[in-house]
């Protein structure tokens, strides 16, 4: 590879574009970009072309039709979309409140303890989310850890909160907590201590320091966390199925039904395309405005 690099560098005139590609930066980007081209861009195109195939067909070589999109508009799929978007929004809002004090502690207070706390918070990420949600079932179900203990200790008989929309949001808050927390920590560690101290010395109240110094400076991290959490929660499937029973059908579940029980791949593909448009639009809008070097590099 090294030899090849030297050779192409000596002939910039003949292979101008190739030589530009072979400079160290782009050259190292080639493997991952190829992987994403074959494994990310191409599948998205496949799903797009499937969404224009006639209903209940299994290959893409047909005249394109808008049939699937028409079905989506005329049937009640907007309900699933609204549930998914609503639950994801609620999850983001709750997580922002839950995570901020922890992120503040991790970046400003805990000192050498923050490594250990970080480790404790990362760990659950590596256990499959359906297993952890199942743990909540064992905790919350009638005769489970919580209600069983209440009954044995105090003789209280209570109804389980499982299988309601509220518990789905609860499950999402639980599963996606680290995804909100860690970007927030990155964001808060971008706030120099001297700046907050200077603001306090100049007579700013604690609230003013928070709203006028900390929050604006930490905003890129908070925005990344919110975006990540929102996107993951919109596409979440396990929470509604494991914790929610069938009380709510989110859009991801509709998509899965179309692909499995209903055997209607083009309809599922069309739903997936709409979801991708919502998510992708949001992601591109936000990511386009961020300077990643600043967020990741300042350590």
């Amino acid at each position: 590879m090294a030899a090849l690099a030297e050779r192409s560098a000596t002939k910039p005139a003949r292979h101008g574009a190739l030589a530009a590609l072979w400079r160290p930066g782009p050259r190292h980007a080639i493997p991952i970009l190829l992987l994403l081209l074959v494994g990310f861009a191409a599948p998205l195109l496949a799903i797009l072309s499937f969404s224009f195939a006639p209903s209940r067909t299994f290959d893409i070589w047909h005249l394109p039709t808008l049939e699937n999109y028409r079905t989506i508009v005329t049937e009640t799929y907007y309900g699933s979309f609204l549930w998914s978007l609503g639950m994801a929004t609620a999850t983001v809002a709750i997580l922002a409140l839950v995570c901020y004090p922890v992120a503040y502690g991790l970046s400003k207070l805990f000192g050498r303890w923050s490594n250990l706390v970080t480790l404790l918070m990362v760990l659950p990420l590596f256990v499959s989310e359906n297993v952890r949600l199942y743990g909540w079932i064992l905790f919350l179900i009638k005769g489970g850890v919580l209600l069983g203990s209440l009954k044995a200790l105090f003789g209280i008989e209570a109804e389980s909160v499982l299988f309601t929309p509220g518990v789905i949001v609860f499950g999402m808050v639980y599963v996606y907590l680290p995804f909100m927390l860690f970007p927030m920590v990155l964001g808060l560690s971008m706030v120099p201590r001297e700046t907050t101290e200077a603001a306090r010395d100049l007579g700013a109240s604690r609230w003013q320091v928070f709203t006028e110094v900390e929050l604006p400076l930490a905003m890129p991290g908070i925005v990344i966390g919110a975006l990540l959490t929102f996107v993951l929660a919109v596409g979440a499937i396990a929470e509604a199925k494991v914790l929610g029973g069938q009380s709510v059908i989110p859009i991801s579940h509709d998509i899965e039904i179309a692909f499995t029980y209903a055997q209607n791949w083009p309809l599922g593909a069309a739903l997936a395309v709409l979801l991708t448009l919502v998510v992708g639009g949001l992601v591109l809008l936000v990511l386009g405005r961020l300077d990643l070097d600043r967020i990741l590099g300042r350590r």
Binding site: W136, G148, I255
Partner: protein, 269 residues
């Protein structure tokens, strides 16, 4: 402890953090308790404790197959991810080049994407190409998600890397290979190691991508999900507890190893 605020508010933050940590571990603790019951059904408080279900679970050949499928996938994903992500991270954080800021965002896209939809898209893509899905296609699917994460993890280390070190080595007459082996890799190894750890664990625990791309093969999370939906079996909490403990040992061990090596090197310097 820094003097960031009044004492009572600091205490409040510590208490809140402790509560959040507890919240994160309630399911694992519940799973552990359930796995230690001796009866077929879970009822709390547990009437009879025992390790019966641990023995039964690991005696089954079906479960051994699951474990080996998951481990094979995770190991291959780890090896390939670290190799690709190492170069990816150099392009991400080490070199200044035109198009880098767009490249950084492209790499992040698969992370900011619903995994269930990605899994389905890959299934459609494999079908369109006429590829039969199996554990090998699952390896590919995991890579699409794991490589960007590993790239990000390694990049954070690369940001702290001083390119002058490499240049100095070149000036002293080192070849490209020597520089890589003697300078770049030793400096970046904690990042590579964390990247490998992340890759392994994320692949091991992945459910949404595996669900759509393993075909007839099954990974541990898929199997547990199928059993959860079908009704209660104590094998699920047993395997869940094993996964949690395994991840804890790997992560704490890995972190300890990084600390030890750092300390040893610090002492040598």
């Amino acid at each position: 402890m820094g003097a960031a605020g009044p004492r009572w508010s600091n205490a409040l933050i510590v208490a809140w953090t402790a509560a959040v940590v507890l919240f994160l571990y309630i399911p694992s603790i519940s799973g552990l308790l359930a796995s230690l019951g001796a009866s077929r059904y879970f009822n709390f408080p547990i009437a009879k404790w025992g390790l019966d279900w641990w023995g039964k679970t690991f005696a089954e050949s079906e479960i051994r197959t699951l474990l080996s499928t998951s481990a094979t996938i995770a190991l291959i994903v780890t090896a390939i991810s670290v190799a690709i992500a190492f170069f990816g991270a150099l392009a991400f954080a080490r070199y200044d080049w035109k198009g880098r800021s767009i490249y950084q965002k492209l790499v992040l896209l698969p992370i900011f994407f619903p995994q269930s939809v990605l899994g389905l898209a890959l299934l459609l893509w494999f079908t369109a190409l006429g590829i039969e899905t199996s554990w090998q296609t699952a390896v590919f699917a995991h890579l699409i998600w794991v490589v960007p994460v590993a790239t990000l993890v390694i990049s954070i280390q690369v940001y702290g890397f001083d390119p002058a070190l490499e240049e100095a080595a070149y000036d002293l007459g080192a070849t490209r290979w020597q520089v890589l082996k003697e300078v770049t890799l030793p400096v970046l190894w904690p990042g590579l190691f964390s990247g490998a750890l992340f890759a392994f664990l994320l692949s091991w625990g992945n459910f949404p991508l595996s669900l759509f791309t393993t075909g007839a093969d099954q990974t541990v999370p898929e199997w547990m999900y199928a059993k959860m939906v079908a009704g209660y079996t104590p094998r699920v909490p047993v395997l869940g507890t094993v996964s949690t403990l395994g991840a804890a040992i790997l992560l704490l061990g890995g972190y300890g190893l990084i600390l030890l090596v750092r300390r040893a090197r610090g002492g040598a310097n």
